[in-house]
């Protein structure tokens, strides 16, 4: 996995990664140019106007308009960045979410210190969850009574996604705020308890990527990591089938033909 990471930005592995990197590059080139130009001017001033015997300083205030020139350039550069880069990019990446029928949809509950994923299974429907069902065997709190959840697959700290279409993850947290961060995808979004927040990405390369927590979440914050496995659609389907749904052997999850069962 390490070849993905080096001294600069990590490998790009999602559709919007090149878009984000473009901005990072443009800004750094501009920053570097501004800094070098200012520094040359600064050093020139220091040498040219150092104290010399018999030469008095110039009392004149100079023309104030001259100092507005750099302000003007900075403002123009920033307006261009806002109008042609930030607002279009932000609306594509964060303000819109791909429609459910075109995307692979996953639910996620973060906790100290793990990522719990729920896949809808063959029926395409997510089973109900409730905090009252949460325990170590059922970290997501799937409702054992809900037939929609009977075929739902659960994975902990390992997210499988198919290539070729966007994945949308609806995120929440059961305890504190966590932040979902996959460096190669340039994706980051906080998972907040009490909220259901979508995050999406479309991977462009098969492989295994690191999923890290970017928001201080407690003692083992630095240990809170997982793997994102990007597979071809075929491999992905095969993986899903190979997983045993959490409630598969739970008689309660069968349709309510067993009225004696009181949960």
């Amino acid at each position: 996995m390490t070849p993905n990471y080096g001294w600069g930005l990590p490998v790009q592995a999602s559709t919007f990664a090149p878009n984000i990197d473009f901005g990072i590059w443009v800004i750094h080139v501009a920053m570097f140019a501004i800094f070098i130009l200012w520094s040359i001017f600064f050093v020139y001033l220091l040498i040219r106007y150092r104290r010399k015997p018999g030469v008095a300083a110039d009392h004149g205030e100079g023309h104030p308009l001259k100092s507005l020139i750099p302000d003007f350039f900075v403002l123009a550069f920033e307006i261009a960045l806002i109008a042609f880069y930030a607002i279009p990019g932000w609306s594509r990446i964060k303000m819109t979410t791909p429609p459910a029928q075109e995307a692979n949809v996953v639910e996620m509950v973060a906790e100290q210190f793990a990522w719990d994923f729920q896949y809808p299974g063959a029926d395409g429907k997510f089973g109900r969850r409730d905090a009252k069902f949460m325990d170590s065997a059922n970290p997501l709190g799937l409702d054992p009574q809900d037939s929609a959840g009977r075929d739902d697959v659960v994975s902990i700290n390992e997210l499988h996604v198919p290539l070729g279409k966007p994945t949308v993850i609806y995120m929440t947290s059961k305890d504190v705020i966590h932040s979902f961060f996959i460096p190669e995808f340039r994706v980051k979004q906080d998972a907040v308890p009490g909220m259901r927040i979508p995050v999406w990405f479309e991977p462009t390369k098969a492989g295994t990527y690191e999923l890290a927590c970017a928001q201080l979440c407690g003692v083992d914050h630095s240990m809170m990591r997982g793997d994102v496995v990007v597979q071809t659609p075929k491999e992905y389907e095969a993986w899903l089938k190979s997983q045993t749904p959490q409630n598969a052997d739970n008689p309660a999850a069968k349709p309510p033909e067993n009225p004696a069962n009181e949960f």
């Binding site: 600064f42 100079g62 806002i82 990019g89 504190v176 980051k188 979440c217 003692v219």
Partner: protein, 581 residues
């Protein structure tokens, strides 16, 4: 008459003279030494923490045995920091540096001492309130520091104290109590600064003749006055969530470590972030504006010419002050707040960068046509310009929504704000210390050791913070106890070693500074009254000034920076000199 009243009351036992003093100068020095103590303790914490970052899991050398014996057994067994202790050090470093170190130094110490002198006032408008500010700050700060002694230790949820983590973590109750006390202290100070500046100016000291430093403190005081109350209220709400079972910030259905949390629910975690950053962004300008003021004073004096664009600098500062109230949520682009709001805060953030560029431009332009004297304070003021420039420039990719997706919560952020606050504010305030030391003690700091301190400090600070940009671009997140637990952090791990060694070396370079200060106070020789040949009013009285400051109230005849006026006998004319000599 006010000043005479104190003077007679001030028959000065040791206690009323040095401890419970009403004199702004004594209170200023109290703030100076107290904030230096807190700055050193916050620095000590980060030097310890940086060992774990550079060499995760290895016992701390030199002090490892000591801390494992002194601290509770499960904090640093065998001299290896545990994550609990690591998180305490991180949270307390940030809190102490910002709220107990830099703000009290820039405002409490420099503002208190210099501002009344620069406007020709005998004291602050409310001397008792001034004393009370200090006497809330000191116990509030000691309470904060003492929270390490609690069972479970000090706060460990970051200086930002994001809920719900802060509500379930140990140490937070005392953090909140101490914050409420410290904020109250700042509010009293802010009222005092504003009243003093507006009402206590000497005859002839119009607003347009006030030195830039006075303007910077005035704008800062307005920011403190308007931004701190929301955080004080927010802290009290968080305190209620912890101790009184309310749920202002806790949503329904939290399950912590497998147990349902006993809370009424219905609250909203993001509310805390809004209230916190509504203070904490203006707070950034509270940290930087006085520094800009100090740099402007030193540059005008060191170039021997009037500042370029006085009106533009002052106008920019006022504009920055106003705008700083509408940029706070650029800290929250990824917090889960509706992304549409991101566009608004993106635009305001880009707008506020323009006046900051304007101030920097004017300060650089001020060098043109000067007769630059490379004195020790001038070296610090000059170093501020490019280094603060790096801090400002690197704010750009963080303020821009799209690039912030990747850089948010990485080391890039830490590098950025430390360039602003350390190589910006601290460098400027160190320069201010060299500049005004003759005013405070009538003695000049040693020049040779000042230059050693300067070059060592500037080199080491860059060594600490520049590697953080490299780490941030590689995606290394902040606040990791063990960065090597994650693959994407491994390549750039050597940068942590570079940063840490630079930090320890930086500490060594502060020793000549501290020795210089105390040696000069006790053993130094008296220098002339106005060693920098400066024009502003603080030099129109004795050094250190007597109680009541001026023998007779000064009368101001001109603007603050009358250097190198054509036809004048010498290259400076004091603001209170009757006519151009």
């Amino acid at each position: 008459m006010n000043s005479n009243a104190h003077a007679s009351r001030h028959e000065a036992s040791f206690w009323s003279r040095y401890v419970f003093s009403l004199d702004h100068k004594v209170i200023g020095l109290q703030y100076l030494f107290t904030s230096m103590f807190f700055l050193l303790s916050g620095f000590g914490m980060i030097m310890l923490l940086r060992w774990q970052l550079a060499f995760p899991g290895h016992p701390v050398p030199l002090v490892g045995g000591l801390i494992s014996r002194l601290l509770p057994a499960d904090w640093a067994p065998g001299g290896v920091l545990t994550p609990q202790f690591y998180n305490q050090l991180g949270a307390m470093h940030g809190t102490i540096m910002v709220f107990l170190g830099i703000v009290p130094l820039g405002v409490g110490a420099f503002g208190n001492y210099i501002l009344p002198l620069q406007i020709g006032a005998p004291d602050m408008a409310f001397p008792r309130l001034n004393m009370m500010s200090y006497w809330l700050y000191l116990p509030g700060g000691l309470l904060m520091l003492a929270s390490f002694l609690l069972p479970g230790g000090a706060a460990q949820s970051g200086w930002t104290s994001y809920v719900p983590l802060s509500i379930i973590n140990p140490g937070q109750t005392v953090w909140l109590l101490a914050m409420v006390i410290i904020i109250t202290s700042s509010l009293l100070g802010a009222v005092n600064f504003i009243t003093t500046t507006l009402n206590m100016r000497a005859p002839g000291m119009t607003l347009g003749r006030m030195p830039v430093f006075v303007w910077s403190e005035l704008v800062t005081a307005v920011l403190l006055l308007l931004a701190f109350p929301p955080l004080e209220a927010a802290s009290i709400l968080q305190l209620m969530d912890r101790v009184a079972g309310t749920s202002f910030y806790l949503p329904t259905g939290l399950v912590v470590a497998g147990q349902a949390l006993k809370a009424s629910g219905g609250g909203q975690p993001i509310l805390w972030q809004h209230l916190f950053w509504f203070l904490a962004h203006p707070e950034v300008y509270v940290l930087i504006l006085p520094a800009m003021g100090v740099v402007a004073e030193i540059i005008a004096n060191g170039t021997r010419k009037p500042l370029f664009g006085y009106k533009e600098i002052v106008g920019s500062m006022i504009f920055i002050g106003g705008m700083s109230f509408v940029v706070w949520a650029h800290h929250m682009f990824l917090s889960g707040m509706t992304p549409a709001l991101g566009n608004f805060f993106l635009v305001t953030t880009m707008i506020i960068s323009v006046p900051s560029v304007a101030v920097l431009t004017c300060l650089i332009w001020s060098l043109k046509g000067g007769s630059i004297r490379f004195t020790t304070p001038m070296l610090f003021a000059l170093a501020f310009l490019p280094l603060f420039g790096i801090g400002g420039l690197t704010g750009l990719p963080l303020g821009l929504t799209v690039t912030d997706i990747y850089l948010h919560d990485t080391y890039y952020v830490i590098g950025h704000f430390h360039y602003v606050v350390v190589t910006g504010t601290i460098i400027a305030l160190m320069g201010g210390t060299y500049y005004w030391f003759p005013k405070w003690f009538g003695k000049r700091l040693n020049d040779f050791w000042g230059k050693v301190h300067f070059w060592g400090t500037v080199a080491c600070m860059n060594g600490v913070f520049f590697p953080m940009f490299i780490q941030g671009l590689a995606g290394v997140q902040r606040r990791l106890y063990d960065p090597t637990a994650q693959l994407h952090n491994l390549t750039t791990q050597p940068m942590n070693v570079v940063s840490s060694f630079s930090a320890w070396l930086l500490f060594l370079f502060q020793i000549p500074f501290l020795v210089n200060i105390f040696y000069t106070i006790f053993k130094g020789e008296r220098c002339e009254e106005n060693p920098w040949e400066a024009t502003t009013l603080e030099w129109a009285c004795a050094s250190p000034p007597p109680h009541g400051n001026f023998d007779k109230p000064p009368r101001v005849h001109r603007g603050p920076y009358e250097y190198s006026a054509p036809g004048a006998r010498k290259d400076w004319i004091a603001q209170n000199a009757p006519e151009a000599a």
